[in-house]
């Protein structure tokens, strides 16, 4: 065949081949195009959301109060293994299931360990049943933690690859709270939507600080697409996710724990419906602890919604302090002003104030204004207020306004849903002739508990009304985005003379008044009791229940913390309702524990023992510190002759008689590894004093009291 012919044949075959390719491509695009587009879509997933990490919430000393972790719902697909059958489905061999999920099989035991709500036998039955039914989506564990999932994946059967064991999972972000969801200011901290709510929100704040600071905590998700690389689906990031900022609160874990414990215990003792309490740092207005507890049974209380900021209630007798302050500051009375209640033990009586019969809880007879507060006499306070302001009640309301405690502090920036006090006005339709008297001893004014606490805090703070706050800082990657400083809302709620008189009365309440049952020998408490009937079914009635309360501060000489406790007691009452003996014990327990932990005395508070002139027992330790202490305690005239410790670093010193800290220091500076047992002073050391100190060698110390 000539060259030309050969060339023509070859070229013709090539052209035919090209035509076949073109025809097949055309056929693929037209008839199989959808199938392959779907396959590409499966392999290359575009517009994937790359989730961000929500910011942390911390306590005042950076302990985690809330953080984000994934959690998983675990499923088993009993249709997965390596070889597909004719239908394209794939099955796990029966002998594999029988081997691992018999009642004593490794798989059953693993599940029983990870999820102990079922025994191994029960897990075996569940899995076998699921396998028999060829269940492709059997839920076995719901809401498994991250560490739980890691542990599961290391266990027999579950450590195989996915197509060999049928393990699948649904992952979601979980807001993890180390102290649980039912205590430790859980409602104040808030929560997030774990699943989509009706508005389609997921992972966004749901109440509390989580909601108030959601825009900062949330962060911004990233975008990307998924692509198969080396048989694994990889996220290719187009825009990086921006993690959320961290919120630092003013809450103190120790104080919160003590408050929860004390309040919870008292609620259960009284069989009360619930109670709420908060603690403020006097000088800054920081909220150090806040509890809102609701009794759910005979032995359990859980965090309820934030009553302290969201509830409006009649403050009761705790408001008498406000009336007393207004009367004193406007020179209507002095602490020595006499008032006759007309109610004595021999002749019990009430006071008819324009048709309203005002009663006292116990007869007080004729008292001074100061004593009226100490004994919490409704009649006395109402009489004094009406006598002074009946002709001009607006002046009384103006006096309250001047204090500033009823002004809206816009606390919803930290506490979503926070209410402002409802101020009364003479222009209101509901104002009547009895209103002045009723307001004076704590009714008709509806106030959130936090505002009452803020008022008592101002009394403790030398007359400065602060803005309460619970978030002190928001930072991201160490950079501070937002910082809050203490803010003075009103520099002087009253004159210094009035303030002194009010403080004296509050101390008297605890020393010999309605709260004398909580007068502590350890820490000086000052405050006011309150007992207010609940407003329900259109009226105030003894049978509706009572809000019993105590608000005050401690220690009286140099106030550090102010606190309010309110308990909601319902009939049948365990005694006559009273703030002093019902709410007061919570205050006292908290004050005593915190005083010992968070306050300190100075040497000036210590009175030297001049009767017994002998050297106190002194542990062996730093000579300089010991001499300083003895001189400050004025005991340095005693015969104190310290023996110097051998300072040679290569020799093991004699540490017998030393305390743990000093012995540790003396030995570790010589390069020794110290192991201790017991408590108190060192009574025995395993290596002899004076022998060479070999760096890295171990020495055992036995300590005893």
């Amino acid at each position: 065949m000539s060259f030309g012919k050969r060339f023509a044949v070859v070229l013709g075959l090539i052209l035919l081949y090209i035509c076949c390719i073109a025809f097949q491509s055309f056929r693929t695009i037209v008839s199989d195009g959808d199938k392959y587009r779907a396959l590409v879509g499966k392999l290359n997933r575009e517009n994937q959301v790359i989730p961000q990490v929500r910011g942390f919430i911390f306590s005042d000393n950076d302990e985690m109060l809330a953080g984000s972790l994934p959690e998983y719902d675990i499923y088993l697909d009993f249709r997965s293994t390596t070889r597909p059958n004719e239908k394209g489905e794939i099955n796990i061999p029966a002998d594999t299931i029988n081997k691992y999920f018999s009642p004593s099989g490794e798989g059953s035991m693993a599940l029983a360990k990870i999820a102990p709500q079922r025994t191994a036998a029960q897990w075996s039955a569940l899995i076998q049943e699921g396998y028999t039914k060829r269940n492709g989506h059997l839920l076995i564990i719901r809401a498994l933690s991250y560490t739980g999932y890691k542990e599961l994946r290391q266990m027999p059967y579950f450590n195989k690859q996915r197509y060999r064991n049928g393990l699948t999972r649904d992952e979601r972000a979980h807001r993890y709270r180390p102290f649980g969801d039912t205590r430790m200011a859980a409602r104040t901290i808030g929560s997030v939507y774990a699943r989509k709510d009706t508005a389609g929100r997921i992972g966004s704040g749901r109440g509390g600080i989580e909601l108030a600071y959601d825009s900062l905590l949330r962060g911004v998700p990233g975008r990307g697409y998924r692509q198969s690389i080396r048989r694994r689906m990889i996220d290719i990031i187009e825009s990086e996710p921006v993690n959320g900022a961290n919120v630092h609160t003013t809450l103190n874990v120790e104080m919160q724990d003590i408050l929860d414990r004390a309040l919870g215990k008292r609620i259960l003792e009284l069989h009360a419906d619930g109670g709420w309490a908060a603690v403020m740092d006097v000088h800054t207005g920081q909220i150090k602890a806040i509890s809102n507890l609701h009794r759910t049974g005979d032995s359990a209380v859980v965090e309820d919604y934030n009553h302290l900021v969201e509830d409006l209630y009649d403050p009761g007798s705790t408001f008498k302090t406000v009336s007393y302050m207004v009367l004193l500051d406007n020179d209507k009375i002095t602490p020595e002003t006499i008032v006759n209640t007309g109610n004595t033990a021999q002749n019990p009586s009430d006071w008819n104030c324009h048709g309203k019969h005002i009663k006292d809880d116990h007869p007080v007879g004729t008292v001074t204004a100061d004593e009226a507060i100490v004994q919490s006499s409704n009649i006395a306070v109402a009489k004094l207020t009406c006598q002074a302001y009946e002709s001009n009640p607006d002046a009384y309301l103006a006096g309250i306004e001047k204090i500033g405690m009823m002004n809206d502090l816009a606390l919803n920036c930290d506490f979503p849903g926070a209410q402002a006090p409802r101020k009364r006005s003479t222009k209101e339709k509901t104002w009547s002739k009895v209103s002045l008297g009723q307001i004076s001893y704590g009714y008709e004014n509806r106030i959130p508990g936090l505002y009452m606490l803020n008022f008592y805090n101002a009394i403790a703070n030398g007359g400065k009304l602060m803005r309460p706050y619970i978030v002190r800082e928001v930072e991201k990657d160490g950079k501070v985005l937002y910082e809050r400083e203490p803010e003075v809302v009103n520099k002087n709620i009253c004159s210094p003379k009035t303030l002194e008189a009010v403080r004296h009365a509050l101390r008297g309440v605890v020393e010999h008044g309605t709260a004398k049952s909580i007068n502590s020998k350890r820490v000086t408490i000052a405050g006011k009791t309150g007992t207010a009937q609940r407003y329900a079914n259109g009226n105030y009635d003894y049978g509706n229940g009572h809000y019993v309360s105590f608000a005050g501060f401690f220690p009286f000489e140099d106030p550090q913390y102010s606190m309010i406790v309110v308990i909601d007691v319902r009939p049948p009452y365990p005694g006559r309702p009273g703030g002093g003996y019902m709410a007061g014990p919570v205050f006292r327990q908290f004050a005593e524990e915190i005083y010992a932990l968070h306050c300190e005395k100075s040497l000036h508070d210590v009175t030297p023992d001049t009767l017994h002139r002998r050297l106190p027992e002194v542990k062996r330790g730093p000579q300089e510190d010991t001499e300083y202490l003895l001189s400050k305690l004025r005991l340095d005239s005693l015969n104190f002759k310290p023996t110097e410790l051998d300072g040679v670093k290569e020799i093991i010193p004699n540490v017998v008689g030393m305390g743990a800290e000093d012995a540790l220091y003396a030995l570790e500076t010589r390069g020794l590894r110290v192991q201790m047992s017991g408590m108190g002073r060192v009574v025995r050391q395993s290596l002899t004093a004076g022998s060479p100190a070999v760096k890295g060698s171990s020495i055992e110390l036995t300590l005893k009291n």
Binding site: Y146, K150, E254, E593, E600
Partner: protein, 113 residues
């Protein structure tokens, strides 16, 4: 066959497309376009190599991210666990239940210096 003859004549005559276009895969052609062919080969080699490296890097990056996430979540989980176990009330109860003779202080400390 006549068709084939005519076709081959048309292809091989000097006036035809085949006659006017240069022959491919001839020695002269390859020598003349050696540089261009070299560039194409080098570019293809670079592309394949870089793409492979890129995919390997993405794979490695993904593995590192998974490790980082694992460390992060494990740290948070352990930190949270320790924080919860250090709740003062839990420690207080453990001390009470044990034979440790520690007691909570009921007086504040005295600051010496």
């Amino acid at each position: 066959m006549a068709f084939l003859d005519k076709f081959s004549q048309a292809l091989t005559s000097e006036d035809s497309f085949a006659g006017k276009t240069p022959s491919l895969l001839t020695r002269d052609f390859i020598i003349k376009h050696a540089a261009k062919l070299g560039i194409i080969i080098v570019a293809a080699w670079l592309y394949i190599g870089l793409r492979y490296n890129c995919e390997a890097s993405l794979y490695h990056l993904n593995q590192l991210k998974e490790e980082l996430n694992d460390v992060r979540y494990t740290t948070i989980a352990r930190w949270g666990e320790l924080t919860g176990k250090n709740k003062p009330d839990i420690i207080r109860r453990k001390v009470l239940q044990s034979d440790i003779t520690l007691e909570a202080a009921d007086e504040p400390p005295i600051r010496v210096k």
